[in-house]
Symmetry: C2
Subunit: 160 residues, 2 copies
DNA sequence: TTCGATGCAAACCATTTGCATTAAC
DNA sequence: GTTAATGCAAATGGTTTGCATCGAA
């Protein structure tokens, strides 16, 4: 993990951004919680444990900057908060997500399932794809095991 | 178009919602602008031309209700505003979208391109899919013809 | 007549911004 | 020493909510 921090520091440096302790703390928090999909507020709280004087605005500014450098992806599952997802080194695309409509858990899919679909879209619609977003909404393994079914979900809370 | 309004009225009625002139005007506006992806504010302004006394809150409440009945889909392209998309009759899924990163235009894809991918996900991850969201971000035919290239797009403005 | 629906204004809440201060380079 | 970065508080903007009134059934 240490060298991932170093690499990100280097990217900041190459883009002539300053290496502040606040930025370092934010990156560290992101790396430590790679499996989660934290919101800016979540990240702020975790960074605060490590650097209590940090302001929320700085976290927002840092996350924006990291998105610009494609270190993180800003994603939106439709619940009104942006979430931040560390991009795998060298990954060309966002990964896909499985969002459980019952418990809200988010699972990631690393594989790029869309290669064929993308070719089709590029040919058929003459649209040059830069990136994509793919999210499946449904019922996760765990909830299904607990007897949750599609029918037991009431209203259409998918998107917001 | 008239019978689509009738069908939607019937759905409202079946769910024991009242058929108010405001709701009717909102549905009419949605049908008249089916090709667009209007925001609540856009819809409000158009409904206002037809029923000047309507309030923005009513439009929001009506759209929420129509989403619940799966008459419309609430979508979020990451620009901070929800957009509303009339669902095709009997369509099981959201349609996919091609969002141009240069001019912001949104094109729809009616075909369900994800059947194979969904099967794979259901088997591999034991995740029961209810619906999906798929958006491609890139450069549309029109902008490409005007010489816009992927490289001419600067920062990562995809998601917000 | 009754209870859900409406309009208005105020409340909310995630995010952004202005500005004086601080600190990385 | 310069200039970008920070922290704070205020502003923003889409969306929601409380409440008195209204009107569809």
């Amino acid at each position: 993990m240490q060298d991932r921090i170093e690499k990100i520091k280097e990217q900041l440096h190459n883009a002539s951004y300053k290496l502040t302790p606040q930025r370092e703390a934010t990156v560290t928090v992101l790396l430590e919680n790679e499996a989660d999909h934290l919101s800016a507020e979540d990240i702020f709280l975790k960074v605060k444990e490590r650097a209590p004087e940090i302001g929320l605005a700085t976290v927002y500014r840092t996350l924006e900057l990291l998105a610009e450098l494609k270190v993180v992806d800003k994603i939106n599952f439709g619940d009104g908060v942006a979430r931040f997802d560390l991009r795998k080194e060298g990954a060309k695309h966002f990964h896909h997500h499985l969002v459980c409509m019952h418990c809200g858990s988010v699972e990631e899919i690393e594989d790029d399932l869309l290669e064929d679909v993308e070719k089709k879209v590029e040919n058929q619609f003459k649209f040059q794809i830069v990136d994509h977003r793919l999210t499946f909404h449904g019922i996760c393994k765990k909830c299904a095991a607990e007897g949750i079914t599609i029918d037991s979900l009431k209203s259409n809370k998918i998107s917001e």
